[in-house]
């Protein structure tokens, strides 16, 4: 069941990113997982900056500012931990897939204005957090070997689940 969910999350991210590569995210090592998480955080920060630039909806602005604030806080902790462990995150297929998908989506969303942008942004935030949370919960946390890294991911998951709930509220507001 867990494997099924993991593959589902991975395939959702792969389909969101338009990549058909069938690598297994549960096989990533700690440093590759850290890289994926860092990239996923940076992507959501980029979406948020786009929302601040395009949207005029105050609710979208507040949500986007929260995404920037929280994801930056998580990345700050992640970099501090990697520094303490004297480790460098390792690029991998999933990070690259996420980045490719993000570039495509940013290009698409940049063309939208008004309600169309707000809806696309909110819906993507919900889908993105759902997919990443599923991946973190079912593929990453069970396979992380370092206890401190695992603990940081568990704390991060709490935050991103809160974001998922918040995104659900946003989707309802803009529809």
């Amino acid at each position: 069941m867990k494997l099924k969910m993991t593959l589902l999350a991975a395939s959702l991210i792969v389909s969101m990113t338009g990549t058909a590569k069938a690598d297994d995210p549960s096989k990533l090592n700690d440093l590759e997982i850290a890289h994926v998480a860092y990239v996923a955080d940076v992507i959501d920060i980029r979406y948020a900056h786009l929302a601040l630039a395009i949207s005029s909806n105050p609710d979208i602005h507040e949500f986007a500012k929260t995404m920037i604030r929280d994801h930056e806080a998580v990345n700050e902790q992640a970099l501090a931990l990697l520094g303490k462990l004297n480790a460098q995150p390792q690029d991998n297929f999933l990070s690259q897939s996420l980045q490719k998908g993000a570039e495509e989506l940013i290009t698409e969303m940049s063309q939208l204005r008004g309600d169309a942008f707000d809806k696309r942004y909110a819906e993507n935030e919900l889908a993105y957090h759902k997919a990443v949370n599923n991946l973190v919960e079912t593929a990453f946390i069970p396979n992380i070997e370092n206890a401190e890294v695992k603990s940081l991911f568990e704390a991060g998951l709490e935050i991103f689940k809160a974001h998922e709930s918040h995104a659900e509220m946003m989707v309802k507001k803009v529809n």
């Binding site: 902790q77 704390a155 809160a162």
Partner: protein, 113 residues
């Protein structure tokens, strides 16, 4: 002996101020309360307090939070990880508050007499 001393003190306070609330004032010292912000929750989420008590909000999450009145009449301002803020309870602090960054985080202060 102690009880007699308490009664004498209370009666003396009543005599000076002429009000029963003065007895309360002389017998109740302000209390201190701690509220932890952890896993996107205020713990405890409901707290009985008195005017003059103090509350310290401590954020144990990585994400920054605030404790802010629903009507914006008071706030701790932003609390980063392991940061805390102490406020003294005033009348207008009675009621609901939340985190402005994560609006689903809700809690309540009940002011008792």
């Amino acid at each position: 002996m102690q009880r007699r001393h308490f009664l004498q003190t209370s009666v003396a306070a009543l005599a000076v101020t002429g009000s029963s609330s003065a007895i309360h004032a002389t017998t109740k010292t302000p209390a201190h309360h701690d509220i932890t912000i952890s896993r996107f929750k205020f713990v405890p989420d409901t707290l009985d307090v008195r005017i003059g008590d103090t509350i310290t909000w401590l954020n144990k999450d990585i994400a920054p939070h605030t404790a802010t009145a629903n009507d914006d009449s008071w706030t701790t301002d932003e609390l980063g990880k392991k940061q805390s803020q102490t406020l003294t309870i005033t009348t207008e602090m009675s009621g609901k508050y939340y985190c402005v960054y994560h609006p689903h985080m809700k809690a309540k202060l009940i002011i008792t007499s």
